[in-house]
């Protein structure tokens, strides 16, 4: 078949753009350096990197506690966690290396899911992925030019797409993983979708008030009594308001917030940002069961991520940069008292950050992705002040870059 005029024009256009170029921008030495970097990355990704070297991050005065599990017991019956004095330094390069991570990770570079220490190639990129029925539910990007535009896909065991909807919010996953919620826009309004993980119960769909697509709704977390806390964006002001969506379809606004943080399905507490202070912010813990009444407030932290038992809450720096927070405090959720303070190590010129999209592994440990020294690690932080590095997953990253993410974090601010 002979080429069409358009094909000829395209051919001419490409030659016109490229043929005048006579560039040899780098040397063999440059290529060797890049090759070494790729090798390092491959080794790290293969899990061969770095043997365990003892190190420590347990400070003086710490009281060790035994392993904890996700608890069904209400917080009031539990003894308070021991306080850790001093600041615990997170140095992933020298921290003890722990066994593989139960929480799945997404490797954005390799389009891989890392689960139970094994790598699974994904057929497409996902920004969030969590087990559902016999397969998965994933959040993927639907528009390469719009980072905020995502959709949901219900997947089979081999990641084949069974059902999909777009545009949607990201997912909220309950602490025990048994409930999954998202919001999807139907053309007139956002609809909250709430499903059980085992797929047994029919999904619950709650239409919210009609509104524009950019008045985005996202499920923040679950509350007692099968309720869901949602945030509703006012696209004009950029402020988020909180609402409780009940199982009967009722919607109860909790006014007076700029941003909605997290919720506990055990205690019914929730967090909201209430003020900007120029270079920081103020947050409140409120009680959804008491009409959103304030429990305590702070201007020292951004409050995100209740522990599964509802007793603890994470405090990041009061102003989060794209890299995350250089510090993380575990606080008593009902009083705001500090249980332990962590600080990420790094040189003065280093970009360091704890990605706030963390996951509580159980009632006493948090898993987080951190960046320091040009590498990203996954670490496990304990209420008792322990720090472990999850073995084999240190990867090179450029400043501002994230490569490893928890597949289903407890904190999702997007």
């Amino acid at each position: 078949m002979s080429p069409t005029p358009l094909e000829d024009q395209v051919r001419d256009a490409l030659h016109g753009a490229a043929d005048p170029l006579q560039r040899t921008p780098f040397t063999v030495t440059d290529v060797h350096a890049r090759a070494r970097r790729i090798q390092r990355r491959r080794r790290a990704a293969a899990g061969a990197a770095v043997a365990a070297v003892l190190a420590i991050a347990v400070p003086f005065g710490v009281d060790m506690v035994g392993p904890t599990t996700r608890s069904d017991v209400p917080p009031a019956t539990e003894p308070p966690a021991p306080r850790v004095t001093g600041t615990v330094r997170i140095d992933p390069r020298s921290a003890p290396v722990s066994e593989e991570l139960a929480e799945p990770l997404l490797d954005l570079d390799g389009q891989r899911l890392i689960v139970d220490g094994e790598d699974v190639d994904l057929p497409r990129l996902y920004d969030q992925l969590t087990p559902y029925a016999d397969g998965w539910i994933g959040i993927n990007f639907i528009d390469p030019k719009n980072e905020g535009a995502v959709g949901v896909q219900v997947l089979g065991p081999d990641f084949e797409v069974l059902d999909e909807a777009a545009p949607t919010s990201h997912l909220a996953v309950s602490a025990d993983g048994s409930r999954i919620a998202w919001a999807e826009y139907d053309g007139d309004r956002w609809v909250l979708v709430d499903r059980d993980r085992d797929g047994a119960r029919e999904e619950r769909r709650t239409p919210l008030a009609p509104g524009p697509q950019d008045g985005r709704v996202r499920p923040v977390g679950f509350l007692p009594g099968d309720a869901v806390l949602v945030s509703i964006l006012d696209a004009g002001t950029g402020q988020e308001s909180a609402s409780v969506v009940g199982p009967d379809g009722s919607t109860t606004p909790l006014p007076g917030s700029l941003r909605v943080g997290s919720a506990s399905e055990v205690s019914g507490l929730l967090t909201v940002q209430t003020r900007f202070t120029g270079d920081g912010s103020c947050w409140q813990v409120r009680d959804a069961g008491a009409g959103g009444a304030e429990v305590w407030r702070t201007c020292d932290y951004s409050l995100l991520g209740f522990s599964p038992d509802g007793r603890h809450l994470l405090g990041f720096t009061d102003y989060l940069t794209p890299e995350g927070s250089p510090t993380l405090a575990i606080l008593d959720a009902t009083t705001g008292e500090r249980v332990v303070d962590f600080e990420l190590t790094g040189s003065r010129t280093d970009v360091v950050g704890i990605n706030p999209e963390v996951a509580w592994e159980d009632d006493g440990t948090v898993v987080a992705a951190v960046v320091t020294g040009g590498q990203q690690y996954v670490v496990r932080l304990g209420l008792d002040g322990t720090v472990e590095r999850i073995g084999g997953e240190a990867v090179d990253v450029e400043p501002g870059e994230v490569r490893l993410m928890l597949a289903a974090p407890d904190v999702m601010q997007r």
Binding site: T4, P5, L6, E7, Q9, V10, R11, D12, A13, L14, H15, G16, A17, A18, D19, P20, L21, Q22, R23, T24, P25, F26, V28, D30, V31, H32, R34, A35, R37, I38, Q39, L108, D109, Q111, L125, D127, F141, P144, K145, E147, P322, E323, G400, E401, V402, R414
Partner: protein
């Protein structure tokens, strides 16, 4: 004193390494300008092209000993660049940290802007990465559909459909400028 077996083994390894480096260096010197042009068409800007080609050469270097057919080296580099470029594209929008106020450099027409061709080239850069790869391999590298399918790891049918969609998109983006009967002035 004579060399020990250990010394001789080390010498052999150094010799092999030296041969490899010399061969690789010769290949790189000879092919860098031409492969850079392909990289530029795939990436759409010089920074992206340099990154793409450097990564491709680095991966080639790491695999050098395993590639028996030296005639296939260009194809190997092209395959890496195409795959890497698609991945880079994904990364660019995937990583929210890279959502900066400054837009990436695109449509660098510093060497070429004669109206119609420059406009078409700028439209080619707006194509989705896989379509753009097909267009570059087909109309610049002059590869057959089967060869493109091999490079991209897709079927010939998919190559045809991607090429067809790419041409339709180009035609739709600039119907006026692509009208063969339109005057040059109109096209501009």
């Amino acid at each position: 004193m004579g060399a020990t077996l250990v010394d001789m083994g080390a010498q052999d390894r150094r010799h092999d390494r030296s041969d490899k480096d010399a061969d690789f260096s010769a290949y790189m010197s000879a092919r860098q300008p031409a492969l850079y042009r392909t990289a530029y068409l795939l990436a759409g800007d010089h920074a992206g092209a340099e990154d793409l080609l450097q990564t491709a050469f680095a991966k080639l270097y790491l695999s050098w000993d395993r590639i028996r057919d030296r005639e296939a080296l260009d194809g190997y580099v092209r395959r890496i660049m195409v795959n890497e470029n698609n991945s880079l594209w994904r990364r660019a929008w995937k990583r929210r940290e890279h959502a900066t106020d400054t837009m990436p450099e695109t449509g660098a027409l510093d060497t070429y802007d004669d109206g119609m061709g420059g406009i078409l080239w700028s439209f080619v850069q707006t194509l989705p990465p896989k379509q753009r790869s097909v267009v570059v391999l087909r109309y610049y590298e002059q590869l057959s559909e089967a060869e493109i399918a091999d490079v991209l790891g897709i079927s010939v049918g998919t190559v045809k459909s991607q090429a067809s969609r790419a041409l339709a998109a180009l035609r739709a983006r600039a119907p006026q400028s692509l009208d063969p009967h339109a005057s040059g002035d109109d096209a501009r």
